[in-house]
């Protein structure tokens, strides 16, 4: 049944059907509506979860780590400054292989302070060892949570995941959405079955330190798990599609790419705007398509190469800045590396930082610049105030 729900409320409903045992979070805009709704569900007895109100995001994720290590399914949500305050714990949760699922309502990083959307926060933690997925709309972010738990808790993976959606653009926007049926979710996602846990009956030591004789291999095992996660995601996505008739099994998704000369590449909600812009540009005879990256870690390099092999030009829409890097954007560098073909021009366009709207006309400007061979630049600058 379709309901019209705010993105944050839909996420809370997704967490509810995932039957998490322990929730711990600290309020930060634009994540707040998610955790407020969950707190309300706990207060009304609608969910059988414990909610720990902590004094910082740092403690929120630390509490999740402890609860997860004790054998519980856990959840947190954050944004921006909160995520970066958690950065140390993020590396730790991943290294300790705890299947924590955390929603990121993407927001810009200060300074200057901005509560509005871009994707600098989660992309900055690209290398922290978490799976990262990005949703285009409210239905997708709802469903991705359920798949994320399934993949993270799989004993072939045992890694945490960020489920990212754009702050305000999706978190505060009402869309028609179907909340998956509890009975069906229970079948898809059974109760958490920990690989190991803190238990006085079977004592073990967790989080020991590793000398140079062992550390290297820990990191290798981590990486092997991340690589296995790609296949497990496809599997879990396909199973989800069978039950719920919505298919997120592919790490990337093409739109009007088949006969395109120019491909735009993007993550998250801007893909919707880009699709509309593509339809208009197609009417004007421009052969443009889109490659949406859903699963950013593990990075789907082979899928990207396959999808973009026939293109002449690739324009990567970046809601982030890797300051001082040649292409300026974080994603473009990796896309260029994945394509690894000097006959295809790959250029980045940093745009929409700190909540600046990205309109169809902005996408058209990016395509025009790409056609002229101009790129690796800021797009949509207000020249008059510079």
């Amino acid at each position: 049944m379709l309901q019209v729900l705010e993105g944050s409320i839909a996420v809370a409903e997704a967490v509810k059907v995932c039957k998490v045992d322990v929730i711990s979070a600290y309020p930060i805009t634009p994540q707040t509506h998610i955790v407020e709704k969950l707190a309300e569900m706990v207060a009304e007895g609608e969910i059988d979860s414990e909610y720990i109100c902590v004094e910082s995001e740092f403690s929120a994720l630390s509490a999740c780590l402890g609860a997860s290590a004790a054998g519980s399914r856990v959840y947190s949500a954050t944004s921006s400054q909160g995520l970066i305050l958690m950065a140390e714990v993020c590396f730790n949760v991943a290294g300790m292989r705890q299947p924590v699922v955390m929603t990121i309502a993407n927001r810009a990083m200060g300074a200057p302070l901005s509560i509005w959307n871009d994707q600098q926060d989660s992309l900055t933690l690209r290398d922290s060892g978490w799976i990262q997925v990005y949703a285009e709309d409210v239905q997708e972010v709802t469903d991705l949570h359920i798949i994320a738990y399934k993949v993270c808790e799989d004993h072939r993976v045992l890694l945490p995941a960020f489920v990212c959606f754009d702050g305000f653009v999706l978190s505060h926007t009402y869309e028609p959405v179907e909340i998956p049926d509890q009975g069906l979710v229970d079948k898809y996602l059974p109760a958490y079955n920990p690989y190991n846990m803190l238990d006085a009956k079977q004592p073990l030591s967790m989080g020991m330190y590793a000398t140079p004789d062992y550390y290297h291999e820990f990191r290798y095992e981590h990486e092997m798990a991340m690589q296995r996660a790609a296949g497990v995601w496809r599997e879990a996505g396909a199973e989800f599609a069978k039950i719920f008739s919505r298919d997120y099994s592919q790490a990337v998704e093409g739109y009007r790419l088949e006969d395109a000369d120019i491909a735009l590449v993007a993550l998250g909600s801007v893909c919707g705007t880009i699709k509309d812009a593509i339809d208009e540009m197609r009417n004007d005879g421009l052969k443009v398509g889109l490659l949406k990256i859903r699963v950013y870690r593990p990075f789907p390099a082979d899928d990207i190469k396959k999808a973009l092999s026939g293109m002449k030009k690739v324009a990567v829409v970046e809601k982030n800045l890797s300051s001082g890097s040649r292409m300026l954007g974080i994603v473009g560098l990796e896309v260029k590396d994945a394509i690894n073909d000097s006959s295809i021009s790959v250029l980045s366009y940093v745009t929409g930082l700190g909540g600046r709207d990205i309109r169809k006309s902005d996408i058209r400007k990016i395509v025009n610049a790409c056609n002229e061979g101009k790129g690796n630049m800021f797009s949509g600058l207000r020249e008059e105030i510079l």
């Binding site: 004094e55 509490a63 519980s72 714990v89 803190l198 989080g207």
Partner: protein, 293 residues
């Protein structure tokens, strides 16, 4: 009563011979018993007891970061409650993790009143990284970041009163102890883990390498701290001081003179003015807690 014949902290770990914190760990576990989950912070004890793949801990043990043991313990406590489990949760953390970098997490956990016991093994500096000062370092102690010199008497600040800070959070039980009195540690830990809520125990645990005395003298030096009134063993229940260990006090010189970290107060000549300030700290402790016999 705790069965003190059961050893849950195994020998063969990599602590120095004469390590105060290792003695503390052994007796903390005798007090909490086998149904205990230990949460450790980064520090000396974590390093000497758990070099992968060896562990000295015969109870479940977890280490995450330097500053988050109290928050990790909060999560474990809530998970156990949800699962209907009853293990004791005991944080064992150094003074740097407790007085300095982990204070925010501790304050949050004590405000929420999780059913945990937080034990600080207090060796009065960052020993694992090479004897840098912490908020627990006593006045005038020379450390590698508060060195005594021609323009310095060593550490300029007094030891932070963490037990009072945690008592102010409404902790039902706060106690201090010393490795000089191991049975007292066992009793206090056993009492704490059986009191619902967040309890705090601070154990004076001399580090002979960091303080600069003979390793065979660890217990004696710990005892001198109590006998001079520079360390007071007491219990606070619901904010009120109960039992205090009373002593026939000795002058602070006896405690200070044998430690290299205070040597600058005696050589090249006795610094009467500074030693008098330290004596005043002991006198204040004696007056506040009524320790004099």
């Amino acid at each position: 009563m705790a069965d003190t014949s059961v050893e849950l902290f195994e020998p063969g770990h990599r602590a120095c011979g004469g390590c105060g914190p290792a003695l503390a760990a052994r007796h903390i576990l005798k007090g909490s018993g086998p149904d205990t989950i230990v949460v450790a912070s980064t520090g000396c004890m974590e390093v000497f007891s758990t070099p992968y793949p060896e562990s000295a801990w015969k109870v479940p043990w977890i280490h995450s970061l330097f500053e988050n043991a109290a928050a990790v313990a909060s999560g474990i406590e809530v998970a156990l409650k949800k699962q209907g489990r009853k293990e004791h949760i005991v944080c064992i953390c150094g003074d740097g993790a407790t007085f300095d970098i982990g204070t925010m997490c501790i304050s949050g956990a004590f405000e929420r009143g999780h059913n945990i016991t937080y034990v600080c093994y207090d060796n009065e500096a960052y020993m694992n990284t090479g004897i840098q000062r912490s908020g627990a370092t006593p006045y005038d102690a020379s450390t590698t970041t508060s060195p005594a010199g021609s323009a310095s008497h060593g550490n300029r600040t007094q030891k932070k009163d963490m037990p009072a800070i945690l008592a102010a959070h409404g902790a039902p039980y706060v106690a201090t102890a010393s490795i000089a009195y191991p049975n007292d540690i066992v009793k206090k830990v056993e009492r704490a883990v059986n009191i619902p809520g967040a309890c705090y125990i601070q154990i004076h645990a001399p580090c002979y390498t960091g303080w600069g005395f003979e390793g065979a003298r660890t217990i004696d030096v710990a005892k001198l701290a109590i006998q001079t009134g520079l360390w007071v063993n007491y219990e606070m229940v619901d904010g009120d001081v109960e039992k205090v260990k009373k002593v026939k006090r000795k002058p602070v010189d006896e405690y200070l003179a044998e430690q290299k970290r205070f040597r600058h107060l005696f050589k090249p000549k006795r610094n009467d003015e500074e030693i008098a300030k330290i004596q005043a700290i002991a006198d204040r402790n004696a007056a506040n807690f009524g320790i004099d016999i």
